[in-house]
Amino acid sequence: MNLLLEIMMFLEVNISGTDFVNGLKGLGAGIGAGIAVLTGLGSGIGQGLSAGLAAQGVARQPEAVGAIRSTMIVGQAVAETAGIYGLIVAILLMFVF
């Protein structure tokens, strides 16, 4: 924070104006949104695992394709929820600030 202020002073930016405050808000919201979207990592790994195990199951028992597919889709949808929450937090941050 101090470093940022010093840079701003060096560049002779008006640090008391509303533009500066709004800029800082945007900066914080952008960084927060970026971190929030990282939740997609976990849900992506989970979805990949369930798809891989479903492929194994189909290879072992080709006659159970329908049941395995619907189970896999439900599991992936539930795993996706965490990533979607992160996305919603990110979108809200971008819209509110």
């Binding site: 619907s70 889709i73 439900v74 949808a77 996706e80 929820t81 979607i84 929450y85 996305l87 919603i88 979108i91 971008m94 819209f95």
Partner: protein, 231 residues
């Protein structure tokens, strides 16, 4: 840099889309009902009746697999939910903002589904068993059980909303970028637009939309089947 508020201003037509989708579903049901009354049951159905029969058979199979012999009470609700969500998610192809990209619509659907889950639980297992299920496996788990019941409708609504809304935002950003390319008069800029956008519409509106319809119907049935006792 695209201002995200611009995206919201572009899609002020969300309310119009909600009404349009509801009217389309109602018209479909009315047409099917009128045709069904005139139809001779000994002959095989064709045209819109065949389509309606496919939808009903699909829903019945879905409910029969999870609910056993008590599927008949829940199949109509699941089918209407599926029809509404199907038309709503595909309406993004017409340039409308899909109604499901509005959090009011998805949370309403989630809350209605939550009520149906609890009413089914009370009806089929009795109020005593229903209340006892909150104390299982241990009375210490009571707050956690109540919390998990409260979270179910919210998570169902937010899942649908997040999927459809993120697709809408991505497609709108894409249109803004292509608009910039045309304005800057980059060579062949206006030729690539009709080749790029259909791919994104196919992925975000059709593929993810249909998967979310299936997931919402299946989750409704699965949550109901968890609440009612086994035969």
């Amino acid at each position: 840099m695209i201002n995200l508020e611009q995206i919201l201003n572009v899609y002020k037509s969300s309310n119009f889309a909600i009404i349009a989708v509801s009217i389309i579903v109602i018209i479909f049901i009315i047409i099917v009902a009128i045709k069904l009354k005139k139809h001779d049951p000994t002959k095989p159905p064709k045209g819109i009746l065949l389509l309606a029969e496919m939808v009903v058979t699909f829903t019945n199979n879905l409910c029969q697999d999870a609910l056993g012999s008590r599927w008949k009470k829940f199949a109509p609700y699941v089918m209407f939910e599926g029809l509404f969500l199907l038309v709503a998610n595909l309406s993004g192809l017409l340039g409308l903002m899909p109604p499901t990209a509005n959090i009011c619509v998805t949370l309403t659907l989630g809350i209605v589904t939550g009520f149906i889950i609890h009413i089914a639980g009370i009806k089929y297992s009795g109020i005593k068993e229903y209340l006892k299920s909150y104390l299982s496996p241990n009375p210490i788990m009571l707050p956690i059980n109540i919390f998990s019941e409260l979270v179910t409708p919210i998570s169902m609504g937010l899942r649908l909303f997040g999927n459809i809304f993120s697709g809408t935002v991505v497609i709108t950003m894409l249109y803004f970028v292509l608009d910039k390319i045309v304005i800057l008069s980059i060579p062949f800029g206006n030729i690539i637009t009709p080749f790029i956008t259909p791919v994104f519409h196919a992925v975000f509106d059709v593929f993810l939309g249909l998967i979310q319809v299936y997931v919402f119907m299946l989750l409704t049935v699965i949550f109901i089947s968890q609440k009612i006792p086994e035969e």
